[in-house]
């Protein structure tokens, strides 16, 4: 026994050390998780279901990220949040990025959630409005008729592009955001809308609507780009890569499991309707995954078009190098 005692002691010490190491190890993994904040472009919505899914399924955690989502709204400017380092990532449309860059702000798009511009003009089925020209002499409800937002600018660009005489058009501020309410209540003849919001809700309401996508009429702007600062890309490329990889994984999972993703969405937007959430996610599947490009992808052509149109319509005064406004290397690195 006496001879064994030191061995027991040694074993006890080793065991204790192992336990401590294990504990500190655990502590470290928790501590190592990098805090990441994302400024969304709008209130919590199925549009962001990929983020919710990546959080709930632990895809961010697997990458060692601790992601916080900040809801947006009409008064929140994600670019400001990113530049002030209040958020590492934000959801921004392509025209806003190009404008910011022409103002000297180093903002870079790293992935596009939707492959096509989801902004559109929604009309009732029998309104007789089929092409942009038909909008002449009509009332169109938009976000802010007095002080055009980026979103409103898209519509104006489309109208301009289609040679629609804007002077004949009466812009009204949107009162009813849900479904086709604005149209059925006669507040406007046409309404600026978002493909996965109002048309989906209108279908749930049982109202038949026609849609006129801006992208079909020369405004192929990417609408919801995951963006970050050039600094972060330069200083923490690994973090950016991890974030993009986990986010795209979240979106892939969401479109393949719409019901489950709708459940995750409901956790963030508890006032939301799960039927709508599910329908919206199903509706956005082709926007995210067209089959022609990998999800999250950005093509050069829409970027160039965006820049050209903005310069043409004097939305920017100087043409910047559009290839610096976005990078696909993180999408490629996510495969």
């Amino acid at each position: 026994m006496k001879n064994n005692t030191p061995i027991y002691k040694l074993a006890a010490i080793i065991l204790l050390a192992a336990l401590l190491t294990g504990l500190t190890g655990c502590g470290q993994t928790v501590a190592e998780k990098e805090k990441v904040t994302v400024q969304l472009s709008w209130f919590h919505d199925p549009e962001f279901s990929g983020f919710y899914t990546a959080i709930e399924k632990g895809f961010y955690a697997e990458e060692g990220l601790d992601v916080t989502l900040k809801a947006g709204g009409p008064d929140v400017d994600p670019i400001k949040e990113i530049m002030a380092d209040q958020a590492q990532f934000g959801i921004v449309p392509a025209n806003a990025i190009i404008k910011a860059r022409s103002n000297g702000q180093d903002l870079v798009a790293i992935s596009s959630i939707y492959q096509a511009n989801p902004f559109l003009i929604m009309t009732l089925k029998n309104s007789g409005i089929k092409t942009p020209k038909d909008l002449e002499g009509k009332r169109i409800s938009i976000q802010s008729p007095d002080n055009f937002t980026d979103q409103d600018t898209l519509l104006l660009s489309m109208l301009k592009r289609m040679n629609v005489d804007q002077s004949t058009i009466q812009f009204v501020a949107t009162d009813e955001w849900y479904g086709a309410d604005e149209l059925t209540k006669g507040k406007a003849d046409a309404a600026a809308a978002f493909l996965t919001n109002q048309p989906v809700q209108a279908k749930l309401q049982g109202v038949e609507v026609d849609t006129m996508l801006y992208s079909d009429y020369g405004i192929p702007f990417y609408a919801n780009l995951i963006s970050t600062s050039g600094n972060l890309i330069k200083n923490k490329p690994d973090l950016v890569q991890k974030f993009v990889r986990a986010t795209l994984r979240g979106y892939q999972y969401a479109i393949e499991h719409p019901e489950e993703a709708a459940g995750f969405t409901h956790k963030y937007n508890e006032s939301g309707n799960t039927d709508y959430d599910t329908a919206a996610i199903k509706a956005m599947i082709p926007l995210i995954d067209t089959g022609a490009t990998p999800i999250g992808w950005m093509d050069a052509a829409p970027w160039q078009s965006t820049s050209d149109i903005m310069f043409e319509f004097k939305l920017i005064t100087n043409r910047t190098d559009v290839s610096a406004a976005y990078t696909t290397k993180f999408v490629e690195g996510s495969k």
């Binding site: 992208s215 009429y217 020369g218 192929p220 393949e256 199903k282 089959g291």
Partner: protein, 777 residues
């Protein structure tokens, strides 16, 4: 004896035979059975397994082949569809009528553009209606704007960034299926450039084919049974064509099955079994279609595809089972037919070895075992004869041995009895020793007898022991000691028996011969004593001192036949010893009595002498006081002295005025006086003082006695001298008269009396008178 093993094959049923395949170890039977089973079943099973495997393999192969052929058919249909689309577009782009219109519209040289558009639209529509596969044919200008489309709603749209426009400007473009957000469906667009007369690209002509037509091809289910289907999956794993199952819509459903993955990821074609998108196990063939960059899958539920296989497996299983049963039964029967005769032989041999020599085997066959049985029976017969003579001799010898053995046993028993007897005697003698040692020191006769009775009872285990002693007149034997309850009662009653008359004790005390009485026959009359009802044997032994019978020792037992003559002899020794002890005790008692008498006489003498002395001298005592000593003439009557005389003890008394101490003066325990010390004033007598007084009193007693004895001796000497003088004077004469005269004279002088007379003896006269008493002073 009829043999137990004589086999009866006619009677033994199959059930009986099977029962013999019991758990008993039967190595030969087991080995034969195993061998037969192995020989019959192993090849059978091998054949069945091999054929089944081959069958299943070929059936599976057949199933795969069928699916493969369906897949090939579909693939060629898809290729045909793709080629048709190509040919369609070629035909369109080379149509001279259209081309003129197209060129005119695109270059803007036409005056009436709307009419031209209508015409072109009509031409496109005509083309579509005459067997073309396109849903929509449209013309784009160099800016990507849709100039003319069979779907008017599409006109005016700008598709500048679409691949079919960008690629179509460069040359013929074959598109892959993609989802059109504006059309809300999957479609495929082929395009080719529109050239002007100078071969400059002025626009793009494109044809859109809905995948619905492809779906129609795919859902055609010829040769796919109940559950089979074929479908296309895009590179993004999305389902492109309709599923035959509900709830799986193209554009919403992703197919991440093993088949789809192999085709899309590895760009492979092949077949395997896997879980499909419904989680059903399917047999699937997958093809990579490079033209469309899609996967073609042809699947059929495994349960249906292998139904034939399952049936074949069932059938072959049933046949296998039947074959096994037949094989087992046949093996058992064959084994039994071989083993049973051998077992009969074995059992017969066993029976013979157990001594049933008349056992024989029944010969039922004429094969090798049959002839072996015959030889066995012959051998058994010979063995039987040989052994029967041998048995007789063994029996004789056994008898002799048995007789000798019996005698030896008897001797042994006798020796044992003797040994037991000796042991008993030794024990009895030892017991006698114990009894005698125990009573040796007892001098009191009564106690002695009592102890003897008790010891004999406890040591020899007699329930009653009584000792009778003859009375002095030798008339009765008196019960003097007994141990039992009944005996004690008799003792208290003073039980006695007339010597020579009553009971066996009476008999023994008169004859001096031991007597044993047993509770049988005529002697039973002796056992009527109500105090000793349990007695069934009695023995009385005389107690003899020399030739004198002094009593009897009477022992009684509850056993019927407790005493033998030998017991009587042994206990006689005890009786003798008891007699000696009784004699000793009697002698001791007599001596003790004499001594006591002598002592009493002496005490009386001393008392008498001292009383006499006091009277004679008139001295009552002495008193010493400070004034000196004085003699007391009258006895002192005092409470203290009287108390001391009465009690014979030292008496001390003190009060405030005086203290007194009285010590008796004792001579041979007789009080002859009292030493009385008095003092004035109260004081306690110290023990030393008392002891001193006591010692003085003792000395006084001895000195006084010595003085008295001296005086007495002196007096006696004087008397002797006077007698001698008188005698001398009497002898000096011979005349009797003178003699008497002299004697009287001398006596008168010696005694100082006035008259002495001598009177002749007359017997009738009253003895003595005052003159004759010498004590008379």
């Amino acid at each position: 004896m009829s043999t137990t093993t004589s086999s009866n094959p006619e009677k033994s049923s199959l059930a009986q035979k099977l029962r013999r395949f019991s758990l008993r170890r039967r190595s030969l039977r087991l080995r034969l059975l195993v061998a037969f089973l192995a020989l019959s079943l192993i090849p059978l099973l091998i054949v069945i397994v091999i054929t089944s495997v081959i069958n299943i393999q070929s059936l599976r192969q057949q199933t795969f082949n069928q699916l493969e052929s369906v897949a090939s058919l579909k693939e060629s249909e898809i290729n045909l569809w793709v080629n048709t689309l190509k040919a369609d577009l070629d035909q369109l782009s080379t149509n001279q009528n259209s081309l003129e219109l197209e060129q005119g519209l695109l270059t803007g040289i036409l005056e009436n553009a709307d009419t031209a558009k209508n015409n072109l639209r009509n031409q496109y529509a005509k083309h579509m209606s005459t067997g073309g596969l396109f849903d929509e044919i449209f013309l784009l200008d160099s800016t990507g704007r849709v100039v003319v489309s069979t779907d008017e709603a599409q006109e005016g749209k700008i598709q500048v960034n679409e691949p079919y426009f960008l690629e179509g400007k460069k040359g013929e473009f074959i598109g892959t299926p993609f989802y059109s957000v504006s059309l809300k469906r999957y479609s495929l667009i082929n395009s080719s450039p529109v050239l002007d007369a100078n071969q400059n690209v002025i626009g793009v002509i494109a044809g859109r084919a809905s995948l619905n037509s492809l779906s129609k091809i795919m859902v055609e289910r010829a040769g796919l049974g109940e559950t089979g289907e074929t479908y296309l999956v895009g590179s993004n794993f999305a389902l492109l064509t309709a599923s035959r199952f509900e709830g799986y819509n193209p554009g919403e459903t992703y197919i991440r099955t093993e088949g789809a993955t192999r085709a899309l990821t590895d760009k492979n074609s092949g077949y395997t079994i896997y879980l499909d998108y419904r989680n059903q196990s399917v047999v699937g063939v997958y093809r990579w279609i490079p033209e469309l960059k899609v996967a073609l899958l042809a699947e059929q539920d495994q349960s249906e595809a292998f139904r034939t296989t399952t049936v074949i497996l069932w059938i072959s299983s049933i046949f296998t089972l039947l074959a096994i049963i037949v094989g087992v039964v046949a093996s058992i029967l064959i084994t039994l037919s071989v083993v049973t005769p051998i077992e009969n032989l074995e059992n017969a041999a066993k029976a013979i070895s157990e001594g049933q020599l008349d056992t024989r085997v029944q010969v039922t066959t004429d094969d090798e075992i049959g002839s072996l049985s015959t030889v066995f029976n012959e051998m058994a017969g010979q063995l039987s004869t040989t052994l029967s003579t041998l048995e007789q001799r063994v029996a004789d010898r056994t008898q002799t041995l048995e007789a000798q053995s019996a005698e030896l046993a008897m001797r042994s028993q006798q020796l044992e009895a003797l040994n037991k007897h000796s042991l008993k005697r030794a024990q009895q003698f030892e017991t006698i020793g114990i009894v005698m040692r125990s009573v040796a020191s007892i001098k009191n006769l009564h106690e002695l007898l009592d102890q003897v009775a008790r010891y004999i009872s406890t040591q020899f285990h007699f329930y009653h022991v009584g000792i009778f002693l003859n009375d002095t007149a030798n008339e009765y034997a008196i019960l003097s000691a007994a141990n039992s309850e009944g005996g004690k009662r008799m003792l208290a009653r003073g039980h006695r028996l007339k010597i020579g008359q009553t009971g066996i004790v009476g008999n023994v005390t008169s004859t001096g011969q031991p007597r044993i009485v047993l509770d049988t026959g005529s002697d039973a009359v002796y056992f009527k004593n109500p105090d000793l009802p349990e007695t069934h044997s009695e023995m009385a032994l005389p107690l003899k001192s020399g030739d004198t019978i002094i009593g009897a020792l009477d022992v009684q037992s509850t056993e019927i036949n407790a005493f033998s003559e030998e017991d009587a002899a042994v206990l006689s020794i005890l009786a003798d010893q008891i007699t000696i002890a009784i004699e000793n005790a009697r002698q001791f008692e007599n001596t003790q009595k004499s001594l006591t008498e002598a002592e009493t006489i002496y005490r009386q003498y001393i008392q008498q002498e001292w009383k006499g002395l006091s009277k004679k001298t008139g001295l009552s005592g002495f008193r010493y006081a400070v004034t000196g000593s004085e003699m007391l003439s009258a006895p002192v009557s005092d409470e203290i002295i009287e108390t001391t005389v009465k009690t014979g003890e030292i008496y001390a008394k003190s009060d405030e005025n005086s203290s007194a101490l009285a010590v008796p003066i004792k001579l041979r325990d007789q009080i002859i006086g009292v030493l009385n010390v008095r003092t004035s004033g109260g004081r306690d007598w110290h023990p030393n003082e008392i002891n001193l007084a006591k010692a003085v009193a003792e000395r006084v007693a001895i000195s006084a006695e010595n003085a008295r004895l001296f005086e007495e001796t002196t007096g006696r000497a004087e008397r002797e001298r006077i007698v001698a003088d008188i005698t001398n004077k009497i002898r000096s004469t011979n005349d009797p008269q003178e003699m008497l005269q002299t004697a009287m004279q001398e006596l008168q002088r010696a005694l100082g009396v006035k008259k002495v007379s001598i009177t002749p003896y007359r017997p009738t006269a009253a003895p003595g008178n005052a003159e004759k008493s010498p004590e008379k002073p």
